[in-house]
């Protein structure tokens, strides 16, 4: 047991496992302004987003995810973090999240704006093949935002 829960998986932070088991923001919205989908054909992971806007603000957002623990928790924690903010803030957060995972060098603490709980995914840097699991909800978000404006 210890070998699993201890250092051996910094990768699977308690938070990830909890959110995967019992997501706080799973579900659908009745009349979403935006919707987005992400799909990873490699493993069949899927996530669907419903977004309700209030001007440029994300008034509410819910996800429906079928996937691995990392994908599910990433969706749930993303929703938690972008909820209530602006679209621009969400886009910016998405970029920082991506930089944390695949940017040129590991994000130095305190150097850029902190990602809060989203930093539990930082150890994925060294597990390239799993990065797309954490990115999938953000891809769905980007798709949803592509309908904004115009």
């Amino acid at each position: 047991m210890t070998t699993i829960t201890a250092e051996r998986d910094a990768l699977y932070d308690r938070l990830i496992v909890e959110r995967a088991r019992a997501p706080l923001y799973a579900g659908r919205l009745d009349e979403p302004d935006l919707q987005g989908d992400g799909r990873n054909p490699l493993c069949g992971d899927k996530t669907h987003l419903d977004i309700a806007l209030n001007g440029h603000h994300i008034r509410d957002i819910r996800h429906q995810t079928r996937g691995c623990a990392i994908c599910t928790a990433a969706a749930d924690l993303m929703v938690e973090h972008v909820r209530g903010g602006t679209v621009a803030q969400a886009v910016e957060m998405s970029e920082r999240f991506r930089a944390m995972l695949v940017g040129p060098s590991p994000v130095v603490e305190g150097q850029s704006a902190p990602l809060g709980a989203l930093e539990v995914f930082a150890p994925l840097r060294s597990h390239k093949a799993r990065i797309r699991c954490a990115e999938l909800p953000w891809i769905a978000l980007k798709e949803a935002f592509s309908h904004v404006d115009g």
Partner: protein
Amino acid sequence: MSMHPPSTRAAPQLDVQAIRQQFPILGERVHDRPLVFLDSAASAQKPNAVIDSMANTMRHQYANIHRGLHWMSERTTEAYEGVRDLVADFLNAPSREEIVFTRNSTEAINLVAHSFGALLRPGQAVLVSQMEHHANLVPWQMLRERAGIELRIAPITDAGDLDMDAYSALLADGKVALVAMTHMSNVLGTITPARQIADLAHAAGAQVLFDGSQSVVHHKTDVQALGADFYTFTGHKLYGPTGIGVLWARRDLLERMPPFLGGGDMISTVTFEHATWANIPHKFEAGTPAIVETIGLGAAIEWVSKIGFDAIAAHEADLTAHALERLVGVPGLNIVGSPRVRGGVGSFTMADVHPHDIATLLDRNGIAIRAGHHCAEPLMRRLGLSATARASFGIYTQKEEIDVLADTLVRIRDFFV
């Protein structure tokens, strides 16, 4: 569940420790744990015999082949062509000229889809099964687009065996020109009843291709006894190099088929207007081949043959039995399929834990398995799954490694539930 081949006499024992000594990579550590490599079905590790034969070729006796008149070229040609004899022997092919070297199984099947496919006409059909690797499905879909042929899919049973009644029914109208079927599933471990498949196909006027990518590794292959018309395999799963695969086909088929790739070495004469083709097998080997890799494949075949398939099959049957026993004991674990005859490859899922999470957590403990659709998406859909975890065993696998796998799976389940 029985093992293949059913061994009547006492099978020779494999000295697994001595074998492991010959694979330097098995001494590596991963995430600070000894490597437990249970992903041989994706690609096997290489023994020193293979590594050294390649390195020594490049160190001491190398030049381009066939066209050279000098010593290095002649010796290298002999080494390369000698492997054709070894492969013919390995498959019990009637003739060395029926052995075509390709990059891998995938290219071998594509070669058949192009060159045999060029002989097919709309109204004819190719028949594959529901448990094909993409390598034995996509080339036929592409042929369908090109040539307007029909593609039929033979269903499997819930246990993971070919549904023989449905298979027969699909052959009944006599339109099937080629049955292209796996000889062993890379997901379920199913070993298909090749001889029966071939007999039924022949009775219906069809030729048969077996995708032997998984199966040649685990037991002795005899293309004549199987009644095959085409047979393919890939070097890197047989403890050999990457970049080298094999197509065997009946001489008359190869002679009728137009060439696939054009270039040097596959021609007899060329003018600006016209080219005439070399004899088989050279007609199908354009350009400088994977010379060093072919020689390495020869080393792999000699190495495997020295150990012998009696011992290998017995060892793997043993491992598979042990694995089934141990995995059944893991809470929440479900083994996918229960085919009548199976080789040392098995898929499983676990309630509440996604296969990707299983794979990553096993990896953190030094254990390498595969997770995903295993290049068999349609089979996944048939099974109602989006992914499985897969453990596969090789000549170097130890029972203790399976125990480590099972114990770690128990801990992973606990972690998630």
